[in-house]
Assembly symmetry: C2
């Protein structure tokens, strides 16, 4: 397969976009990505989306968005719950790397805020096991709360030890014009936040939203010498049991480990080569588990990275969520994986201002679907 690169990126603010339909949102991100490249056409369109059927009463979203942007080529939707964005990105990579097409536009899009909150909660729960988890009455945040509770019990951490993850994401979002919650929070606020599903508080949980993010993938050889091009060094996906209770080690993200391992092998690198890690902080506990599974911390020691100030963009050993993460940039579920890619490209291009990681040349993005059931990892490098 040939090497591939990202040549254009675009995104909308994550927001309550009540005046924009799902196709409007996707179109805005796609046209922004095209404008970023100076190109006017693409050969294939891959859409990452989870909930358009349930919330927007619209399936066939590939064709809907192709139509909206005036495109008649191949267009499909890829769905793997909250990792739909990265799964679509991976499909775009394979399409271009294989030689099947010479350009692929990938857009992650989700529109969630028109629906009632209970409807959104039910829709999100479809990421878990409908027959064996949801039948018991557990919600998606409830499932993650069980994992966090067990983690605290097993390794002796307190709730307050998770504060740095949320604080870091919020602090970084302040400098991201596309973020949903661009305000900082204090340790005191974190410790006082109301519980959603104990021990997950409002400030441990990411915010849903409406948004779209897009990237154009082309062969690397076609953009040699372009200093804004970002090469894709590795792409790996793996799965784990859909039910958390089926796992022998429910505190270890096996699919994160496997997908990162494949991606490191493709790139010929290890976690030590990463200048930043755009991880999937849907809940604070997921940040911890991702860092551990990908080699940045020993099992049970993830919170230490936060407490030791190692996750911040300025001086941290492994800066995470430098544009706000799911927690504060927001989590428009099927779009999130593409926000991570777009933000990683911004870091590698040196466009992140106050939260720029100095000298960032290589970064990793990881997108998680369900309670760790589908995990997709990418490693990017400034070309």
């Amino acid at each position: 397969m040939r090497e591939v690169a990202i040549i254009g990126i675009g995104q909308t603010k994550v927001h309550e976009h009540w005046g924009l339909s799902i196709r409007d949102l996707a179109g805005k991100a796609i046209f922004a990505a095209l404008k970023d490249t100076g190109r006017e056409s693409v050969e294939a369109l891959f859409v990452g989306n989870m909930l358009s059927g349930l919330i927007d009463q619209q399936n066939n979203l590939g064709a809907v968005i192709a139509d909206w942007i005036g495109f008649k080529g191949e267009a499909v939707k890829i769905e793997s719950a909250c990792s739909s964005g990265a799964s679509a990105f991976r499909a775009g990579i394979v399409a271009v790397a294989s030689g099947e097409v010479d350009s692929a536009m990938v857009v992650g899009v989700e529109k969630m805020t028109d629906a009632a909150p209970t409807e959104v909660t039910s829709a999100l729960a479809t990421a878990a096991d409908s027959d064996w988890e949801l039948e018991q009455g557990v919600s998606f945040v409830g499932l993650n709360a069980l994992v966090m509770q067990r983690y605290m019990h097993e390794y002796g951490w307190k709730h307050e030890d998770f504060a740095p993850f949320s604080i870091n994401s919020h602090a970084n979002a302040v400098h991201n014009p596309y973020a949903r919650l661009p305000f900082s929070i204090s340790t005191e606020q974190y410790n006082k936040a109301g519980m959603v599903a104990a021990p997950i508080s409002l400030l441990d949980a990411s915010s849903i939203g409406d948004g779209a993010a897009a990237a154009l993938i082309v062969p690397l050889e076609s953009v040699r010498g372009d200093k804004r091009a970002v090469q894709i060094l590795g792409s790996g996906a793996a799965t784990d049991t859909i039910s958390v209770h089926s796992r022998k080690a429910p505190l270890f993200l096996q699919a994160a480990y496997l997908s990162a391992k494949r991606t490191y092998a493709q790139a010929g690198m290890s976690h030590e080569d990463m200048d930043f890690f755009d991880l999937h902080d849907a809940f604070s506990i997921m940040s911890v588990l991702s860092l551990e599974a990908c080699g940045f911390a020993e099992q049970g020691q993830g919170p230490r990275l936060g407490l030791d100030n190692e996750i911040t963009p300025k001086g941290g050993r492994i800066p995470i969520c430098t544009r706000g993460g799911l927690k504060a940039r927001g989590h428009p579920v099927g779009a999130t994986g593409m926000y991570q890619i777009v933000e990683s490209v911004q870091q590698l291009r040196g466009e992140c201002g106050e939260t720029q990681v100095d000298g960032a040349k290589i970064g990793m993005a990881q997108n998680i679907g369900g309670s760790g059931a589908s995990i997709v990892t990418h490693i990017l490098k400034i070309a």
Copy 2:
């Protein structure tokens, strides 16, 4: 890209499978396909499905099915309404052809009959344009009825002229043990059938159902000499406007034309080389429009092929729907594209008994999503 082939196929009967969950159905088809090959593992799983989120309250179906079959690798769902099956098949082809993986299992699966009929009608309508078609109160069958009405008006055909399509599909289904409606119908029955949305009668419309069909794709070089292997000569996808009213020529399936054109070019062939055509007879009018767009008939002359007995497996110029088609094998929407592939393989292997096309060496399958918005075409050849 390297050449690829299908080495194993599996399917369930299309039926009201009230005792089987969506994962049971998919598992049965996958294990049957593995058994057909003698292999025990795969490297990637692609799931074609349209409605699991809406009807089964289950998203993340790639991970759900991977878990069920005991697989930890890459697994995603591909959705393009009723062409989800062929879109997933195409993703599997590109994954193997590129060298990214050495085997890809593709399963199309849908479970629809547990839901109330009105719920299914609403769910199917999400294949059309939610904002600009459904808002007007039109159903999916209603949209197709408008197209059929216009076609009859424009070219002077009567409703009875469409009878041979339904009669052929039903006659062929009698000999398919996996068919939903394995009984023959007469011209008189066709002409007396009650209207669903005039001029589409009950015997013009395909039947929904529960079912799964799977195929294992591997590199052609790994199965050289295997007389049951079926080579994939061409794969092409295209899109058209999502709304029928946006088309300049609503009686011409532009996306069928484009996707067939690409597929013919890849295979180095034309429609004249096809020994059969497994087309998407969701409604009789769609059979006619597909035949015309793919070169088998002049525009406006498609019904002539049926009236002249050219579509039957024994002696027809271009046999269609030789296992019963959507009309009588049944239309479990996201699975249909994979049923077409499985049935085409059966034809090429010479396993179709009473409906075997004598000497069939090359065949085409075409799967349609929405009212012609997403169309995916494949050409297969006995290796």
